[in-house]
């Protein structure tokens, strides 16, 4: 296991520890992980399962871009992100973000930034399946994505 793929789209179940292992560093005292799971109820509607699809090569590039954006703010940060695609059941893990930094405050800030940025620029789509239908979900932030800019302060609150 010499090579670690830090930014990855996978069809397999995500093992949290494997993502965390990629950012463990002798000089990191803090690791923040954000784990996105499939929620059953959204706006009063019961989800049966989800399907995720991605433009895989571009999605991995954009995840890597997010890592670089974080390192431009926090040069000592290590970042790894894995996003799963395919069919996911309720409570399955869709995404794991892991960020290590020497000090804890930066790990929280960077991890938060990463999940907001994923929802803006990474070409991954979710299709919700309910008892009475199905729909591709888009524009969760309810605004136009801005691929080159950064989220404004208010997006992060």
């Amino acid at each position: 296991m010499g090579y670690k793929k830090l930014f990855e789209i996978t069809e397999k179940e995500i093992i949290i520890q494997e993502v965390v292992n990629k950012v463990i560093d002798r000089n990191a005292g803090a690791i923040n992980t954000f784990i996105g799971t499939v929620r059953e109820m959204t706006k009063g509607k019961k989800t049966l399962y989800l399907k995720y699809d991605a433009y895989i090569p571009m999605a991995e590039k954009k995840l890597q871009q997010i890592g670089l954006e974080i390192q431009s703010d926090f040069p000592d940060a290590h970042v790894a992100i894995t996003h799963r695609i395919g069919k996911l059941k309720i409570s399955d893990i869709a995404v794991v973000i892991a960020v290590s930094t020497p000090h804890r405050s930066d790990a929280f800030t960077a991890s938060r930034y990463a999940i907001e940025r994923i929802k803006e620029i990474v070409p991954i789509w979710k299709k919700e399946h309910w008892e009475d239908g199905e729909e591709w979900i888009g524009d969760q932030l309810e605004k136009t994505p801005y691929p080159s800019g950064k989220p404004s302060k208010e997006d992060l609150t």
Partner: protein, 78 residues
Amino acid sequence: MIKILLFADLEEKAGQREIDIDSTAMKVGDIRKYLVEKYPQLTAIKSALPAINEEYAQDDVEAKSGDIVAFIPPVSGG
């Protein structure tokens, strides 16, 4: 030839992920118009962001033969 990629709702509406356009050079905005004319069900392509060779691009950029032009509907990962 320019290769077009459609995803999510656009892919379903078109019934295919890939469309080839037999052109040596074409602006992204013109590709968008061409697709809506040929596939009227693709109205949602208006709110998609174009990407050339896996990088976001503006409508006035010209795609050349061999390029891959993707239309990225609003994303919903995470």
